[in-house]
């Protein structure tokens, strides 16, 4: 609760929370919000309609309402994103802590497994696995998890290694604490911010990747997803017909959702790691210095609203997998 409150105080936290909550509500109440049932088969009289009265975003090649598809599409994105994010976080953290804290051959085996996963090109392997395992959305989650845990495990492991060498762990050992006590009291507590933040950012990355997979036609064939809408647009030659309303809305939906998750992730990072110097503080400092130099500010009034300054933490690029 406290964390949410503190996130709300940051502009990006507010943006992130608002977008995420809105998308979740849309996904949950899709049947109530959607003007039409997008699963209706073939509405011959309503094919390829431009946006207008009745169909705010027009219709697709089968006459289905784009807006309704957009609303239902939130479900797949969210389910795949959240479930994969959760699974990757759990598996990756477990493996990372196991490797980092146990060391020895366990560490070697886990890290070499990560290496193997890293050298295999992501999307082609996903396509391959989707081919073998099927494209039901739970299989997609499994595939993303199998390919995604390694990054998380590596990150957590290096954090565990650095925590393990800190004096407070030695202090804990010196009072006779067991391995399990140290893992629960010190290691887990220390890696949890990294774990949560990267879990959220990972979910965002997975949404992009899922859209990519669906766009290639390897998504769940029975579900409506934003990626699949773009696939249909592409295979239906939307660009040739200038049917921008097939292309723009799903893309924007992906963008807004992912953007919201990332904002929430960065806000979380700032709330959970309050002692990391904020990058955007530079611009605030520059402003204050200029003001002072121009004689418009005094030292007494030069306090900068540090945390509230807008900007981004670009350092987390690695956490996002691009399609």
């Amino acid at each position: 609760m406290n964390v949410l409150k503190r996130m709300w105080r940051l502009p990006r936290g507010r943006i992130g929370i608002c977008i995420t909550v809105a998308v979740v509500l849309v996904a949950v109440f899709a049947p109530l919000l959607a003007p039409y049932n997008p699963y209706d088969i073939d509405q011959r009289d309503a094919r390829r309609m431009r946006p207008g009265r009745g169909h705010w975003l027009g219709t697709d090649a089968f006459g289905n309402d784009i807006l309704s598809k957009l609303i239902y599409g939130a479900r797949v994105s969210l389910i795949v994103g959240l479930c994969t994010g959760l699974a990757v976080t759990v598996v990756g953290t477990f493996m990372g802590i196991l490797a980092g804290y146990t060391g020895g051959w366990v560490d070697t085996v886990i890290m070499r497994a990560c290496d193997v996963i890293f050298v295999v090109p992501g999307l082609p392997l996903m396509i391959l696995l989707a081919n073998y395992l099927g494209t039901k959305f739970y299989m997609i989650i499994v595939i993303f998890t199998v390919l995604g845990w390694a990054g998380m495990a590596r990150m957590i492991r290096s954090q565990v290694l650095s925590v393990r060498s800190r004096d407070f762990v030695a202090a804990s050992r010196s009072i006779g604490a067991s391995k399990w006590h140290i893992m629960a009291e010190h290691i887990l507590v220390s890696v949890s911010p990294l774990m949560i933040v990267n879990g959220v950012l990972n979910a965002a990355g997975v949404m992009v990747a899922e859209a990519g997979l669906s766009f290639l036609g390897f998504g769940d064939p029975t579900a409506i997803s934003w990626g699949k809408m773009l696939f249909e647009a592409q295979s239906g030659h939307a660009l040739l017909f200038g049917a921008w309303w097939w292309v723009v809305p799903p893309g924007l939906a992906i963008f807004v959702t992912v953007f919201g998750f990332m904002m929430a992730g960065y806000a979380l990072e700032e709330v959970l790691n309050p002692h990391i110097p904020r990058r955007q503080a530079f611009s605030a400092m520059r402003r204050q210095m200029r003001k002072f130099a121009a004689g418009r500010g005094t030292c007494a009034t030069a306090a900068v609203a540090g945390g509230a300054a807008a900007g981004t933490g670009g350092s987390r690029q690695g956490g996002v997998t691009r399609g």
Binding site: R166, S174, G176, S178, V189, H275
Partner: protein, 337 residues
């Protein structure tokens, strides 16, 4: 070796060795060892302080950690309160560890930044399941008062405190289980000069009130002399000279002790021993690596008095007892008047 005449010592370290393997080549074959601690013996009575001084890399910290079995000793024995802890199982060790605690050098790294002070200080109590939640809470408040912090500090996090206050928190944690021995590894060297005296005085008051014995490790000779009853000077994993504090600093006998004393800056007000020390040539060069220590006397390459005898491979210098309790390992110790 150093058996005290006053009954059983609280801590008795006998010929302790800690070697770390050096690996090399394709298959990380063990090709040698870093002899971090290479045969150290000393004893410490209850309520007293044993000071360990030496340059970085001489093995002081490894020795401290090996006493608490944070490092596994390669060889030798450590007796605490009569019980040999070097051969204990983990379970037995847990019980013994209530009696011995450690205070660390860096008060920033030794307190988990994510826990509040209550949890940090109560950790020993929780690990050993002492008291109820409520009793633990009261004990934490009491401990904080003991180390000179307000009881409301319990709810705050380490980053809200200055270095000196953090070190007080570290001491409060060490005191939680009412230990008989605290191993303090450079407890003030990362603190500001004006804060150091606060912490040192606190440690001394605790010794007077609670009868705690300290192993006090520092690179600053003045600190060691001030805080300790007995002092050992370490060089490359060995104690090369040990004596009661004043005896050692008034009548240093090992050339290395003398060299250390001579190097202490600000020599104008030096006493008799320092006068003598300054006549000595200043020490050349750096401490050799403990991975390949010089054979014979480890100090011979830097020693002005070194002879053929000192360089002889495989022969560690003999022990001389110059006065009761004043031991020096040297072929040519300086005469003490």
């Amino acid at each position: 070796m150093t058996v005290s005449s006053m009954g059983q010592p609280l801590l008795d370290v006998r010929d302790l060795k800690v070697h770390f393997p050096i690996t090399s080549g394709l298959f990380r074959k063990v090709v040698g060892a870093v002899r971090a601690v290479d045969g150290v013996s000393f004893a410490l009575e209850p309520g007293k302080t044993f000071g360990l001084a030496g340059e970085s890399g001489c093995g002081k910290t490894t020795l401290a950690r090996a006493i608490l079995r944070l490092e596994e000793p390669t060889d030798g024995k450590v007796f605490f309160d009569g019980a040999e802890i070097t051969s204990m199982s983990d379970a037995q060790l847990t019980a013994v560890r209530t009696g011995m605690q450690m205070v660390f050098q860096d008060p920033y790294s030794s307190l988990n930044p994510r826990l509040n002070v209550e949890r940090i200080v109560s950790e020993p109590l929780r690990v050993h399941r002492v008291g109820t939640e409520r009793e633990r809470h009261e004990r934490v408040a009491e401990l904080l008062t003991t180390v000179g912090l307000p009881p409301d500090a319990a709810a705050r996090h380490p980053h809200e405190f200055s270095g000196g206050q953090r070190q007080r928190i570290g001491i409060a944690r060490a005191l939680a289980l009412r230990p008989k021995l605290i191993v303090a590894d450079e407890p003030v060297s990362s603190l500001d000069v004006s804060i150091r005296a606060q912490i040192l005085n606190l440690m001394r008051n605790l010794q007077d009130e609670l009868g705690i014995a300290y192993v006090f490790i520092a690179h600053d000779l003045a600190l060691v002399r001030n805080m300790s009853h007995k002092v050992g000077i370490m060089y490359l994993g060995h104690i090369v000279e040990t004596a009661s504090s004043d005896e050692l600093f008034l009548h240093p006998a090992h050339p290395y002790t003398l060299a250390l004393l001579a190097a202490v800056p600000g020599a104008e007000t030096g006493g008799r021993a320092r006068e003598r020390a300054r006549r000595f040539a200043p020490l050349e060069g750096d401490v050799p690596s403990p991975a390949c220590p010089p054979s014979g006397c480890p100090f011979h390459p830097r020693c002005a008095r070194a002879t053929e005898e000192c360089r002889e491979a495989g022969v560690f210098p003999p022990r001389h007892e110059l006065a009761p309790g004043h031991l020096v390992w040297c072929h040519h110790p300086l005469e003490t008047e």
